[in-house]
């Protein structure tokens, strides 16, 4: 198998390298599509459309690879294509082994292409074993990867494939026949004969040949069946006396007896016989061409003289002027991320400027400045719309994140000997691109955990009265200003008792009175991330604290719900928009703080009798029927108070992380859109603060992390 890349660009002035990038992208998409279709293939009732689709993917990659000189990829995909061709013609029934080897071959093709894309650097993926397995499967046998097989396999080039790999079809003699049917009153009967070849796997191949008589049909047939068998078969549609079968000599060159084909190059002849035979055969070496004698538009067989040349088009050596009609409009365009980020920044600046104008114009007399104020109101609306549009550019659907899991789970489940169904919900839910990259690792970890430690083995499941196959569900949805991603499994869940005793062992302060939710949260505690905990408890100790940290870094939260014996659910909640949010500004001691409007439930003036003190100075406030903790921002942020007259008498109830708290503030200043600025890029993470923003007057205000405040109040 060729390791080098032929430079097709060497043919004259044709530099094909400019098309490489298009081909790499196109091939990548085809291989991805192929993988997806293979994973979704129903082995029992494989439908034609899917089989054809998978075939076309391999065919397309092969064609491009061959054209652009990537011989190793062309060779491998050619083998895949041969197997897929048999599958789509129903000559073979698809099975799991075939899917496996095709998936592995697609992977190998990808890495070979990547190597070419990187200029030929890097390790060369071995493909000899894959090719061997494909040809064994294509011949109707079962195949095992090289490790399982002893010295039977020749690692040498494809051409050396052992005779055992020769397809079953060849063990009988393949005959080339010419079948004439007629004269018929209704020629549809003869057409029905063609259907037989389509419907019956392994019967052979049939092609229509032109014939003068209109009440007759002529076919070229390749089959291993005997004349008798064929006549019996055709009897369904046409009586024997109207069928005439003659054998053709299957020559290496032109096959048709009556009409001649003008072959352009000697190389064309060599191609005639080679291709249909064995799937193990290497690609035809020389491209050929030819014209059908007497076909419309065909040149006469007279040697070309100057006569034809003078009519030929002047070959202009000029640069190719793209006089090409465009194909159907592309539905998408590719844009550099940096451009999008720049756009978002600019829109952010626009929002700030607009807010400043709005603030400064508040003092204006509406009667006098009516037009200006109405213009500013329009500006406000336009800016809001623009901002929404721009933010949505960076939003991509969760399906991008979900797409890696079917394959990963299939491989993992098979390795662990488990049966797992993978279900996704809410693939269309959109997420900021920056988040997508960061959420993939934690989610992968959670899904792996469910498969590894959650879902039991088929035997265990049956013993527990469950179905053999477990289900892992991955779902995404928008809730308020957040996106909620859940990983659910119907496995064995977590044992409260075991976690508590393990926690005590590790010296953690726990009590039996802890709610279930609090117990589950223990597995995030640093003390749980050790290997021996993996086997003892639910086996979910490893890496969970990393998952939680990663999610917290995105200003998100993780919640766990579990029922022993039934399963487990991990919910990840992330804020949707990173850059711009609706905020409520509050004043405490002369300082301004911003609360995310999506967390604010209500606000009210506090009455002294509604507040009660418990424990070590913590306060609770009664809101209708509910008691909730009070958080004095003045204390938490050590806000210096100069005006002893004024005091905090307004409570703002916020909800985050599933609980509510009441924040004690001096005054409510208003609501506005704020551009969230990162505090950590130049400074550091500040507790209870999620970011900063610039107010209309140009001053900085801190944005409060309501989740952190709520969690703080819990103990």
């Amino acid at each position: 198998m060729s390791e080098t890349h032929q430079d097709s660009g060497g043919s004259g002035d044709f530099d094909l390298t400019q098309f490489y990038q298009i081909f790499f992208e196109e091939a990548g998409e085809n291989l991805d599509l192929m993988e997806q279709m293979l994973l979704n293939l129903n082995l029992e009732t494989a439908d034609d459309e899917t089989l054809n689709g998978i075939f076309r993917c391999a065919h397309s990659v092969k064609g491009g690879a061959a054209t652009f000189g990537f011989a190793d990829v062309a060779e491998l995909t050619h083998q895949m294509e041969s197997l897929l061709d048999k599958l789509r013609r129903h000559e073979l029934q698809p099975n799991a082994e075939m899917v496996d080897v095709l998936l592995e071959s697609a992977d190998a093709s990808r890495s070979l292409l990547a190597r070419h894309q990187a200029g030929g650097e890097g390790e060369l993926t071995p493909t000899a074993d894959l090719v061997r397995r494909i040809s064994v499967l294509a011949s109707g046998h079962t195949s095992a990867p090289a490790q399982a097989v002893q010295a039977r396999v020749a690692p040498a080039p494809v051409a050396a494939v052992s005779p055992a790999a020769v397809p079953k079809v060849q063990t009988k003699h393949l005959r080339s026949l010419e079948i004439c049917i007629g004269p018929l009153e209704r020629t549809e009967q003869a057409d029905a004969v063609q259907e037989l070849f389509r419907d019956i796997p392994g019967l052979g191949e049939i092609a229509v040949l032109p014939i003068e008589a209109t009440n007759k049909r002529l076919f070229a047939v390749q089959t291993e069946s005997s004349d008798e068998d064929l006549l019996d078969l055709f009897a369904f549609h046409v009586s024997r006396e109207y069928i005439k079968i003659t054998e053709r000599v299957a020559s290496g060159g032109d096959v048709v007896g009556s009409d001649s084909i003008v072959v352009g190059v000697a190389g064309g002849a060599a191609l005639g016989a080679s291709d249909e035979a064995q799937p193990g055969a290497p690609l035809a070496p020389l491209p050929g061409y030819g014209f059908f004698d007497g076909a419309p538009g065909a040149p006469t067989a007279v040697p070309e003289g100057t006569a034809t040349e003078s009519k030929a088009v002047k070959v202009a050596p000029k640069v190719a002027s793209p006089n090409v009609a465009t194909q159907p409009e592309a539905a998408t365009i590719r844009v550099a991320i940096s451009k999008v980020d720049q756009l978002i920044n600019l829109v952010g600046e626009l929002v700030i400027t607009q807010a400043m104008l709005a603030q400064n114009s508040r003092a204006l007399d509406p009667a006098v400045y009516q037009q200006l104020l109405s213009g500013l109101a329009d500006l406000d609306r336009n800016t809001r719309d623009l901002q929404e549009s721009v933010m949505s550019i960076r939003m991509i659907p969760m399906s991008i994140v979900f797409s890696r899991f079917p394959r990963m789970l299939r491989d993992l489940a098979s390795k662990l000997g488990k049966k797992v169904d993978f279900v996704t919900q809410g693939e269309a839910t959109e997420l900021d691109k920056g988040l997508v990259e960061k959420i993939t690792d934690p989610l992968t970890h959670l899904v792996r955990n469910s498969c590894d430690h959650g879902v039991e083995s088929p035997a265990e499941r049956l013993a527990a009265g469950k179905s053999e196959t477990g289900t892992i569900t991955l779902s995404a949805s928008h809730q308020g200003g957040s996106i909620v991603i859940e990983v659910r499994d119907d496995g064995k869940g977590m044992s409260r008792h075991k976690i508590l005793s393990k926690a005590r062992e590790r010296g953690l302060d726990v009590s039996d009175q802890m709610s279930d939710a609090e117990v589950w949260q223990l597995i995030f505690a640093p003390g749980f991330s050790t290997a021996d905990v993996v086997t003892d408890v639910s086996g979910r100790g490893v890496g969970m604290d990393v998952v939680k940290r990663n999610i917290a870094a995105l200003n998100g939260t993780v919640e766990i719900d579990s029922a022993e014996g039934y399963g487990m659910k991990v919910s990840v909640r992330l804020p949707l928009t990173l850059a711009i949010m609706d905020g409520m500004s509050v004043g405490v001691g002369g300082e301004v703080y911003i609360l995310p409007l999506s967390s604010v439930v209500e606000s009210f003036q506090v009455k002294a009798d509604a507040v009660s003190t418990v424990g070590q100075g913590s306060q609770l406030v009664k809101v209708r029927d509910e008691y909730m903790p009070v958080i004095e921002l003045e204390k938490i942020f050590q806000i210096p108070r100069f005006d002893f007259e004024k005091s905090c008498d307004i409570m703002v109830v916020v909800e985050a992380d599933g609980s509510r708290v009441a924040l004690l503030v001096d005054e409510l200043l208003g609501q506005q859109q704020v551009v969230v600025k990162n505090l950590e890029s130049n400074y550091r993470k500040v507790p209870n603060v999620s970011g900063a923003t610039i107010l209309g007057d140009g001053k900085v205000a801190l944005i409060l992390d309501t989740g952190a405040l709520v969690r703080r109040s819990r103990h």
Partner: protein, 162 residues
């Protein structure tokens, strides 16, 4: 890097330009290439639970920048905020920081041979951050490795492991 090695390193390079500023009675010099701009002082937004020398954060054309008062950090006797008070905005590779100083003088070019090692005195400044003493006529400048100074954990700008 020890003091002598630093001097050697500087000696082998060409003359550099230093922005000079004043803290109390002392004059300091920092690499001009690290200076982004110079602004007047405006009260920053306070950030809770920060050391006293971190005054807070300000808005620098859309970017949030922390402000460190060098006079407080170096325990200067007099700390005032008046019309001469200046904030030097530094652009240090991965971060932008503002430092409050009493005043800014000029930019000086110092040939390497005019820089001498600073004696190892017990001072507030980490000796590792002092590049040397530069002299120009009557004036003596304490040359600072401002990048290293700002990255030091006790400066409170860099988060340690939580």
């Amino acid at each position: 890097m020890g003091m002598m090695e630093k001097i050697d390193e500087m000696a082998s390079s060409e003359a550099r330009e230093y922005l000079t500023f004043r803290l109390d009675q002392e004059e300091y010099g920092i690499d001009i290439l690290k200076v982004q701009e110079i602004r007047g002082y405006e009260p920053p937004t306070r950030v809770a639970n920060a050391p006293d020398f971190i005054k807070g954060v300000v808005n620098l054309r859309g970017t949030i920048v922390p402000i460190v008062d060098m006079r407080l950090k170096f325990n200067c006797s007099k700390v005032e905020y008046n019309t001469f008070t200046v904030v030097i905005i530094l652009n240090l590779r991965s971060r932008i920081v503002g430092v409050v100083v009493d005043s800014v003088s000029d930019v000086m070019e110092l040939p390497p041979d005019s820089i001498k090692a600073a004696p190892d005195i017990d001072s507030v400044i980490d000796s590792g951050a002092v590049l040397g003493l530069g002299s120009l006529g009557e004036r003596m400048l304490i040359l600072l490795d401002i990048e290293r100074l700002m990255a030091a954990p006790d400066m409170g700008l860099v988060s340690g492991p939580e």
